[in-house]
Point group: C2
Chain length 433, copies 2
């Protein structure tokens, strides 16, 4: 008993992020028990806000509904909304019905924005100021209402209709003479985020402008909320994971700690899709079975032509996809990129093709085989450069993620074309066939 | 003439990040000219600090040395140090020699930390406070010296030896009664960053703790500087790019806007390395040339066995590598992961293997061929799961980036073993051979 008390006291001293980590590592039952104890000390909301929403939702679902709704009311609304989104509709509704009318409205509002937009990321807790206030009046107001604000490192000035007039940094306010009017401190032409902006676009704005928070506005420039940089860090990490996973056709939910039966179910669809494309390549080889029966040495060069094309194509896919993700490829630039990759494909194709051709000739002592290998390798490198550019650009034009299964699409092209080049050229050139 | 003046006036109104963008898009000559004009209006330092260091260094190298050193003196020291690092040694020394003794010392100090550590990321511009100060005294001090501080959203209290005592948020100070002593506001047990921490570790701390700035300390807990979240965002973006690039064996400097001749030179070494591994796979096929000559249908299943193994293995590599990057795989967890992937490899191997075996049997009407295809596919899926776990974990154990060329290593294993399984089993099982 004594031991437990000490443990709780130790935990209460920790940073909420550390408590969140402790909660993640406990069994579900133990975690729910700890949350209950923290709740009794008014210390449950912050750690839950620091956890991944799917984890915190699992925990909250195990709590008494009354307790859960009180914790939700104490959480930052943006974190509370993320948590609610992970709960079943009926639990969501029950918890919302237990909140105060104002709290419920704020959360319902937030839930109405798509989670992958600025609206889904913002906190509505912002205290609007008027330009006619003095610094002292503004600081007094912020002091009185600080509990309600997501961040007071910046404050926002609005007009009578709630339209954003400009940004004030708390730094400037704290360090300015108290009698100064806000209109003399305000930064007009502030960088704003449209409420419907995609989270990737939001991340790019933060990356570019180095602010700790940006105001979110609707199409009439009315101030709706604020996005802080800590939320954007989470977005950036998740977007990076998404891009890496999608390129390799890995399902997003499959992590190192996913149970094996779930991983199995998640990966099989992608493996099946890849299997279909592999049979496409196999069909091309099958069409030339008689050619292979006569010149079995051709099979030796199958992995070289296909593998090397796949590697070169993945280099191009990776550069183009990452360039798109970082906002470095504007809509008109596709042709320019394609021209560069065609040139590179040709040059790499000639260089690598010559090496492959010479090895084929020396290995098998057949000039014709060397010529076939050289040409097939060169053509496949060219095809790889083209496919490596066209696949991500096409996915973007279709409004899909440019990274989506790009490795499967690319290697299908380089396998199918690589084998086709190899065997068609063999039929045309090899004398014995 | 009039037009130019208006343009400059417009540019001076822009956010430094936007000016940086304009500079990046101009030709070298035009950009240098604009920097000169901005310099005359004391407005060159901020945009240069917002640019990528390699770009800003190119620009600064084109300026008059006196002008360049004056701009450097006005830049945030962490940005100035990053810029200097990109310049040739002699230019670096010349610029440092033109700075004031204090500025030069600060920069030389910063340059002495490895760029991929907390020391290389931090700004030394931090104003230490004493716990015995009142809030009013602290704010007055910060107000007087605000130009020197990288961020005043947090302030740091130190003892007489410079050892960190705790953190103060400007928010708490601005909103507290002016007469309160700092010792009553200070957050002790603050999260700190060791000066030699790796930048990835720094990014994880920011990701976890949601602070806007963290203090950097040496092994005696002496305050050396501060890292702000905007620098970490750049690190996170660059680390994500690095992980994505390394996995696909793409050279880090190769971007969408890299000139083609440079891309060619950058990519060829990796393509050559891949070519060597492709020949390894080819050698395995070559060893079974006589087998293929007798049963050409085996060649049809080469892309299926190898490609499917490669895809499954890359799923595993991707999950393990990303887990390591996110700090989710602690040192002892490798065996646990391996066990899971072996199980998944077996199960996926049986499922996919049965499909491949049945297709082989139906397609070619040969029960023996179906059996060979089933066994080779199943074994290669198992090998893929093992290799997909062991490759990144081995790279980490060797203190290399777990992502490094992982796609090349993995596909080499799945190609070589896939072909070996296919042909060895064929020799053992097919009756005609």
């Amino acid at each position: 008993m004594e031991e437990r008390k000490i443990a709780l006291r130790e935990i209460l001293k920790k940073d909420p992020a550390d408590v969140a980590e402790v909660l993640s590592e406990l069994s579900d039952e133990q975690a729910a028990e700890l949350v209950h104890k923290l709740f009794l000390r008014h210390a449950a909301a912050e750690p839950l806000g620091e956890m991944e929403p799917d984890e915190s939702a699992d925990l909250v679902a195990k709590l008494d509904r009354k307790e859960a709704s009180e914790i939700l009311a104490r959480m930052d609304p943006d974190d509370a909304a993320d948590l609610l989104l992970e709960l079943p509709e009926n639990v969501q509704q029950e918890l919302l019905s237990r909140l105060s009318k104002r709290d419920a409205e704020v959360l319902t509002d937030l839930l109405s924005y798509p989670p992958d937009t600025a609206g889904g990321l913002m906190s509505p807790e912002v205290i609007p100021l008027s330009l006619s206030m003095t610094v002292q009046e503004a600081i007094d107001l912020l002091r009185r209402r600080q509990e309600e604000a997501e961040t007071v490192y910046y404050a926002y000035a609005v007009d009578d209709e709630g339209r954003l007039q400009g940004v004030l940094s708390l730094r400037d306010m704290a360090l300015a003479p108290p009698g100064k009017e806000l209109r003399d401190l305000v930064i007009r032409d502030a960088v704003t985020v449209p409420v419907d902006a995609d989270v990737e676009e939001v991340a790019r704005l933060f990356d570019k402008y180095d602010y700790f928070a940006l105001p979110v506005v609707d199409s009439d420039n009315r101030l709706l909320g604020v996005i802080t940089v800590d939320d954007v860090i989470d977005v950036m990490r998740d977007e990076a994971t998404e891009d890496i996973y999608r390129a390799q056709a890995v399902p997003l939910e499959d992590r190192v700690d996913t149970p094996w039966f779930r991983s199995l179910r998640l990966r099989l669809p992608w493996l099946s899709f890849n299997l279909l494309t592999a049979f496409l390549a196999a069909a091309v080889v099958g069409a030339f079975e008689s050619t292979i029966a006569r010149v079995a040495a051709l099979a030796i060069f199958m992995p070289v032509i296909a593998g090397q094309g796949g590697n070169a194509g993945m280099q191009t896919v990776t550069i183009v996809t990452r360039g798109i993700a970082l906002g470095e490829v504007s809509k008109g630039e596709g042709w320019h990129l394609l021209a560069k990759e065609i040139l590179l494909g040709l040059l790499n194709g000639i260089i690598i093709g010559v090496v492959v051709g010479v090895v084929a000739f020396v290995w098998k002592g057949e000039l014709y085989l060397g010529l076939v290998a050289f040409l097939a390798m060169g053509l496949n490198m060219l095809a790889a450069g083209i496919a490596g550019t066209v696949i991500p650009l096409t996915l973007r034009a279709l409004r899909l993620d440019p990274a989506l299964a790009s490795s499967i699409f690319l290697t299908t092209v380089t396998d199918v074309l690589g084998f086709a080049f190899l065997f068609v050229l063999a039929r045309l050139i090899l004398p014995a066939i």
